[in-house]
Amino acid sequence: MKQPAKRALALAILGFAALAAEPALADQTSLSVINWWTAGSEAKAMNVLVQMMKAQGVNIKNDAIAGGGGAQARTILKTRLMEGETPGAAQIKGVEIQQWGHTGLLANVDAAAKAGDWDKNIPTEIDNYMKYKGNYVAAPMDLHRLNWLWYNRAVLAKAGIKTPPKDWDELIADLAKVQAKGMIPMAGGGNGWMIATEFDPIALETGGPEWYRDVFVKLDAKAINSPTMVKALERLRQIEKYTPKSLAGRTWNYDTGLVAHGQAAFQIMGDWANGQFEFLGVTPGGPKVGCVAFPGTANDFIYNVDSFIFFRQHSAAGREATIKLAETMTSPKFQLLFNKYKGSIPDLMNVSLTGYNPCQLKSRAQFLTASKEHNLVPSFSQNMSTYGPPTGAFIDSLDQFYTSNESPQAAAAAMTKRVEVAKSQD
């Protein structure tokens, strides 16, 4: 069927439904920003962004879509594009930005990068994600560190632990001590995303940054199906033993609450937990709750960067607004505000972190050293290390392993096979 015929048909059907099709052409100076920051401090920060843009004469429609950790938002993004309702920006990060660049739909925001001097102020590791074929098509919002261990000081004291663990053996010993006192040693488990997030620092600690990159960035089958992976999986199993059987569908916030309220000793989680602790009235690094780099990874930094890609606009006004949006997102004022609440640190290395908590300050310092020593690795669990299908394959494999009696050897082999299949999917 030819396009006009199809269209006529669709129109006929609509007319039949006795509904007038009123054209809903978007106001050209209004940009929709698709994201899944629907609640809490992130939602508040998004509202600040909307206000800041309004002051510059740009209407931002905050399309915040809950559900499935962004799954729903991705669905919406894709249907919007099918509808021809191109959004201004969408929350997409990591390697997937390259896939979107490939579609030819993205806008060039080099002008904003130049104005904000991203090349100088934003670390190259982050910049590289934002560029497609040498041009900026996305802007970073934050910089998260994953390899944190959060702990409740009072619980540790009760269990007779004086300092937080510095290596794996200490961690295991401490977990046992807490368990002996009848408290929850480790809050965690739950869905695939949470398991993968816990595995992220465990893998780094076990294999080191080089091996980590071979596995999660290069997807090297030899590295995946290796004794190192088996060892890492064994360690995940050890952690699982100290984790209460937890409810599917329960969120990491609940676990954070267990630590905050002194019901559990430890939680392995990215620094977005900062925001949650603050929400619960407990400042991390303060008297109640402490943060320490995940044992054995003190010099390493697993990073996660949330970013927005920008879509090419038809009108000049739209294009101008897009540049303004990218500039605002990377402006010191917005980044400081946004990251303070989110628990992360700004992508800009040239701003001082006044008012940030001790854990966040530690994060900035360790990023800079890790960057110098090439100990920065992209988080696989947060979709930073590779594109969707292999990431999914890793998460599925870990999920399967964690929730069954599968042996670490079998799990490593199955993981290798899944990743191979997923690689053919690009």
Binding site: M1, K6, L9, A10, A12, I13, F16, G68, G70, A71, R74, T75, K78, L81, M82, E96, Q99, W100, T103, G190, N191, G192, K245, S246, L247, A248, G249, R250, Y387, G388, P389, G392, D396, D399, Q400, Y402, T403, S404, A414, R418, V421, S424, Q425, D426
Partner: protein
């Protein structure tokens, strides 16, 4: 079209009838069948984050059936579908028979059994997640009664989580099955029952030998409806277990959604959708054939 309609009985009115029906027919052809064809095409292309026209033959199907997650989804559908259909029909029938005994307060019971139908999957999922949570729900309640070693943590157990989905789904639609069976029971001529009673049959025997065989068409409708609901189940599982723990409660609808939209493997997602459709057809086609036979 108009010409052939003119040939038929109704003259002008028949033409009007054809015209009035045609929008629905066109809508069905376009919004169901053309969309399915489009999905067929998608499943043969290397579509990742967005649809593409890069033809790759059956590679997506190859990947699909090479995926253990997909196989798990299929076997989950088998377990969930089989149990859900059987149990909801059994409970529905039992409740209908009980309500058919000239019960006081029948209207009230009907409403109580039917109301879960009125509640959305999202809400049902949340409510049951609570009830099944070992820390707050049934396990905690029973333990607080003194049975401190009582275990009921299916929802956390990858091998049993799928059964919790069955429980919630049965809760939601057994009342609907009850309504269908009750309607069927009320449709049976009282003369048949009287005749059986005169023949000296007891109540149980009347149900087993006289009434249930007469309910065959009702069983059929109930089966088709519940099988359809089982294959389409999505929101409830998402809200209850999110497809987990792990992917232990994934079913084809969830697999399709995750791969098409979240994972950026649209081609594989499309392939899975078509396999799902094929499963549907296996359920529906016998219905169509039987229906057609009955008319002849």
């Amino acid at each position: 079209m108009a010409h052939s309609l003119m040939q038929r009985v109704g003259g002008k009115d028949q033409v009007i009838a054809g015209l009035m029906l045609s929008p629905t027919v066109l809508a069905a052809i376009f919004f169901i069948y053309a969309f399915i064809l489009w999905t067929v095409w998608l499943s043969l292309t290397r579509s990742t984050i967005l649809p593409s026209n890069h033809f790759i033959g059956l590679a997506n199907y190859h990947d699909l059936f090479g995926s253990s997650r997909w196989w798990r989804s299929l076997s989950n559908l088998g377990i969930f579908g089989g149990l859900y259909v059987a149990i909801s029909m059994a409970i529905g029938l039992l409740l209908a028979i009980l309500l058919d005994q000239r019960i006081r307060g029948e209207r009230l019971f009907q409403v109580v059994f039917l109301y879960p139908m009125a509640i959305s999957a999202v809400v049902t999922g949340v409510a049951w997640r609570w009830l099944l949570d070992p820390n707050f729900g049934v396990q905690a309640i029973v333990r607080s009664l003194g049975f401190t070693h009582f275990q009921f943590a299916w929802i956390d157990d990858p091998n049993f989580a799928i059964y919790t989905v069955v429980i919630a789904a049965v809760w939601q639609t057994s009342g609907f099955m009850m309504a269908i069976f009750l309607a069927g029971l009320r449709g049976i001529s009282p003369d048949i029952v009287k005749a059986a009673r005169i023949d000296g049959a007891g109540t149980l025997r009347i149900y087993r030998r006289v009434i249930l065989p007469n309910l065959a068409p009702t069983f059929f409708v109930a089966f088709i409806l519940s099988a359809g609901l089982a294959i389409k189940a999505f929101g409830l599982i998402i809200a209850l277990t999110g497809g987990g723990p792990g992917y232990s409660t994934n079913v084809p609808t969830i697999f399709m959604y995750v791969f098409s939209f979240e994972r950026g493997e649209m081609g594989v997602g499309a392939a899975s959708a078509l396999i799902m459709l094929a499963i549907m057809m296996v359920v529906v086609v016998p219905f169509v054939i039987l229906d057609a036979r009955r008319k002849v």
